[in-house]
Symmetry: D3
Amino acid sequence: MTSFSRPSGRAPDQLRPVRIQRRYTRHAEGSVLVCFGDTQVLCTASVEARVPPFLRGKGEGWVTAEYGMLPRSTHTRNDREAARGKQGGRTLEIQRLIGRALRACVDRRLLGERTITLDCDVLQADGGTRTAAITGAYVALHDAVGWLMARREIARSPIFGAIAAVSVGVYRGVPVLDLDYAEDSDCDTDMNLVMNDGGGFIELQGTAEGHAFRRDELDALLALGEAGARALFGAQQAALAE
Amino acid sequence: MTSFSRPSGRAPDQLRPVRIQRRYTRHAEGSVLVCFGDTQVLCTASVEARVPPFLRGKGEGWVTAEYGMLPRSTHTRNDREAARGKQGGRTLEIQRLIGRALRACVDRRLLGERTITLDCDVLQADGGTRTAAITGAYVALHDAVGWLMARREIARSPIFGAIAAVSVGVYRGVPVLDLDYAEDSDCDTDMNLVMNDGGGFIELQGTAEGHAFRRDELDALLALGEAGARALFGAQQAALAE
Amino acid sequence: MTSFSRPSGRAPDQLRPVRIQRRYTRHAEGSVLVCFGDTQVLCTASVEARVPPFLRGKGEGWVTAEYGMLPRSTHTRNDREAARGKQGGRTLEIQRLIGRALRACVDRRLLGERTITLDCDVLQADGGTRTAAITGAYVALHDAVGWLMARREIARSPIFGAIAAVSVGVYRGVPVLDLDYAEDSDCDTDMNLVMNDGGGFIELQGTAEGHAFRRDELDALLALGEAGARALFGAQQAALAE
Amino acid sequence: MTSFSRPSGRAPDQLRPVRIQRRYTRHAEGSVLVCFGDTQVLCTASVEARVPPFLRGKGEGWVTAEYGMLPRSTHTRNDREAARGKQGGRTLEIQRLIGRALRACVDRRLLGERTITLDCDVLQADGGTRTAAITGAYVALHDAVGWLMARREIARSPIFGAIAAVSVGVYRGVPVLDLDYAEDSDCDTDMNLVMNDGGGFIELQGTAEGHAFRRDELDALLALGEAGARALFGAQQAALAE
Amino acid sequence: MTSFSRPSGRAPDQLRPVRIQRRYTRHAEGSVLVCFGDTQVLCTASVEARVPPFLRGKGEGWVTAEYGMLPRSTHTRNDREAARGKQGGRTLEIQRLIGRALRACVDRRLLGERTITLDCDVLQADGGTRTAAITGAYVALHDAVGWLMARREIARSPIFGAIAAVSVGVYRGVPVLDLDYAEDSDCDTDMNLVMNDGGGFIELQGTAEGHAFRRDELDALLALGEAGARALFGAQQAALAE
Amino acid sequence: MTSFSRPSGRAPDQLRPVRIQRRYTRHAEGSVLVCFGDTQVLCTASVEARVPPFLRGKGEGWVTAEYGMLPRSTHTRNDREAARGKQGGRTLEIQRLIGRALRACVDRRLLGERTITLDCDVLQADGGTRTAAITGAYVALHDAVGWLMARREIARSPIFGAIAAVSVGVYRGVPVLDLDYAEDSDCDTDMNLVMNDGGGFIELQGTAEGHAFRRDELDALLALGEAGARALFGAQQAALAE
């Protein structure tokens, strides 16, 4: 299909440039700026010595997430959720997803009665903010656990394996990896995949508003996503090795 | 596998008894009580001659959904969201899903500048409330369109195909169809599938908090879901033929 | 006055058909569907082993109520209160009334430090939802107390007497019993009466927006209401005897 | 019953001293401080040249009310409703009552497309704040209508008759008029009556939490209330004659 | 500048008539009506035997303030903040200012674990409500401390010195003291000063929306304010001597 | 005074290193990262072709600001205001200040019916976030106006002069410039100054919770602030010259 091209000129199976910058701000136990191309998300991990009421006295910890977009991270300004007085449905959905995704690599008994909160704030948006957030939050979580171990608050890391996320979709009939805003807004079908580095699927969220996925498309998207996630695990390891 | 059994005694690929009762309440243009076993959801479709601001003057209609659980639809009483002063993240997530699912079978130009609101209120919950809601809301939507056609407000039905939803999951290592509450609360991995009657996937939402899906499990779950959806399309057609 | 007739064809002192169906849903300790004609209210009673802060440590229990209307229980769709983010004044007024009414037949010391919450959710509205709710909630409360006694949590029933409610009003100059929506919306004057089975008045709420009640009308309305309440006590006893 | 005495030493049928002070503040079109003994309520009437959406273009006006208590109008400090972020159920119930009561003496067609808002703010509370508020708001409303007529905005007064309100109750077995806080908090049964000066009842709200009204008590209370209201109409006329 | 005159006819360095009336309402431990000309603010001080969470167990007390305007204290009616569901930015700013100002004269260790809440409610507004509120709240605070000492709950007064506040501004080029509404709304530059009776500045809040203060104007305004505050300390002492 | 030293080792009249980075994010018409030492604030300016209701049809524009702190911009994590459902008093106070400050250099008639919103989001906090925000927002505003002029939407710049802000305070008895967090939290008295480049004062907000400013201290602080603001005007001009 010689005539097909993505707005960015990327190959269908090509990620955007990924950048993972640790220690981006000073105060948090983990602080990571993650960039998937022009999408930039600041992910901080905060450790607190308390757990939500439903876990009190059970000897387990908790990992949770909050998500926000700066009002002008987007093409046109969005209302500030703090000023409107509530978080929208999309925000709640994304932060629930990030929290579930990261809990999937944590042994909460080893964490002890502590909460790690992952705040994912979008400084600049160009599609894929939730997948960038999950990929970056993993590194921030890792740094926060390192901080706990350096202070000898915990003896063994509660993290097992790694977690990364990437989007896939059908753009003008062709399955493609890691959609940017131009593709995302002109695309019938897209799916966000959260995977672990053992090749398992943690979350699949595919949406086809109007055009349904055929089973063969679904298989092609899953294969693209698996390859993309492998590349992201490499980027996380490289960042953690610095 | 002689030792495996589901709490309900069902076979792994067996749906719960499905009941779809039309004209359940009097005032709505479509009103359906849908039961997946002990899960009972009242789905009403309300027609209004207006559209949300972002569609005004475009000659298109809108289909949207709201979801709620009666406080004592569940084993223990939940706070009433109206009293707490906001809808929780789970509620918003489910009602956004129902709305997207039903819009996938509607030609909004043929609907004209009208809104159809699908209210899905859970009278009794035993797992699978969102899949029952989507399956029942389709029938309520159909009745509301029939009401518009009977009054000659629209000449052609804007509905193409049918939409149904079902859950699948891995329970004690075995892929099973249509999880009830006993299974759902003791299950590592589950997925909600929304399909159309052409065999296409409209939504996939798979979650593995703790244990990841392997690819072969995913394939088995998709096959179970496809068969389950076919049975639900039959139940919808039977109800609409009455 | 040969020309007088009610929209429903009922005699001035005639109740609508009353139906009280126990065990309507599974999870609640008491669950009753009450119908006054086309008005249908689901009343559940939930027992919880805690009391509000102002009663802690006093050895007394609490009985409270919440009220809601499904968005399309009415002729035209009403906004969902959970989505609007607050309960309206009418809702708060009605649920406070239901709570007061039911507390009037409970010895809270005999209940012990427990709360019974009566959720009254209107599935279909045709006038008189609050009076139906009180009448049905009494039966749900009775079942919840029965559940507590069957589990030997309490030795003696804290319920004394029975409580029922009915509306009366002046429709086209004639005092009538149990107004339906057609009468209610075309009526100058109406009153809700809550009574006990000893013939005492628990609550009177009469409203005349525009035309004031004369004292003789008031006397006629009170007499109608007393007769209506007696019939409702019979219906409650019949339901409880099943 | 020689041993009976009210905490205040009043006779059972005796009102507290009533004071109605017009032009209490400067800016409002009507501004009245009404005192029933130690209960002091500031009632202002504000005229605005607009109506709520449901009345636009109908050529009718609207009369509505808002009610509030200063945080330390009471024995112990109450939370400020503005700080808590919502008005409580009691507040909403009272302001709805005040609005209905005053609309009962206004011909809204003669008012034209204007809204008169009656703000009733309790400076000091000693029982009976809602009845004092209604009685004072009538005078403020009258002054606001006088202001409209003086400016020749309306030619004829839309007010017909007068409205006043008083409480009655059974205190230690004796029917009494105009309960103060000491009586109100130690009383099984009380009723608020809103009447017009033609002797008609506009609102009756009787509540018996625990002990039901007998029919003979009810008759005695209605008689006390009628006499009390007559005295209040006199006080209003005297104030308006100044 | 012979042609200069203030709308009220006052000299540039002249305060409006100040009135400070103690024991204005009955229930509060301190209750003061303060009038700066036509600005009337009711300031109550409420003592409670508890402190906010951040002070628990530290042996210190707390002094805080809340501020509100009655809806028709102003020329045109303002929405009631309790009905809108939140306090506006101006309200929060003013009540934070009042609280900080009064804490500046209290030794919180001598107060012990108690909270004194100063409620400042504007009955009538004509400019300078926040400065009147601070000046009156000081007297109410003094009375509440007197109440505590009379009951021998505390042995020594925690109040040191006095606090008063006044506004200054540049009106038509001339520095003036104690702006009323007519001046305030036609003035480029104004400043609120909170001072103690030792001549120290507790708060300065100067705002020039459009025209900046020159340094010489600032010096003139500070001098006016110092003189104004001295007069207010005299008025407070006179009221406390009654 | 050999023994005095600031935690940072700075001289009393020394600013922290100032960095002003334009075009920090892509989408906003102006986007500036401003750093006062470790305090980092992202200031974006968004242009919209509409004005608030109170300005409609008047031919004038509006400049407004919103402020937020990322939850972990601070030493310990703060609740996310969007999740709590409202902006706190401090936030509202700061954003009102920023808006007033920037309006002081804009001729709103020349701006035409447009709104420029300045979003100031704190990425990292170390004292002085509001002064950094104002100083940076001025540059972002300048860039947004440049964008309007480049598109020929406006012919003349509506900006006159420059605006900058800096804090001053008395730290251990010594007046110092530009307080960082270590000083701010251990300081009796501090003041924020907003100035224009003509040497005029736009806003003064001085607070002494406990220890009052003497007049001579105030003079020393004003002098420090004037010098600091001059240095900030230089930094702004240098950034705008790039």
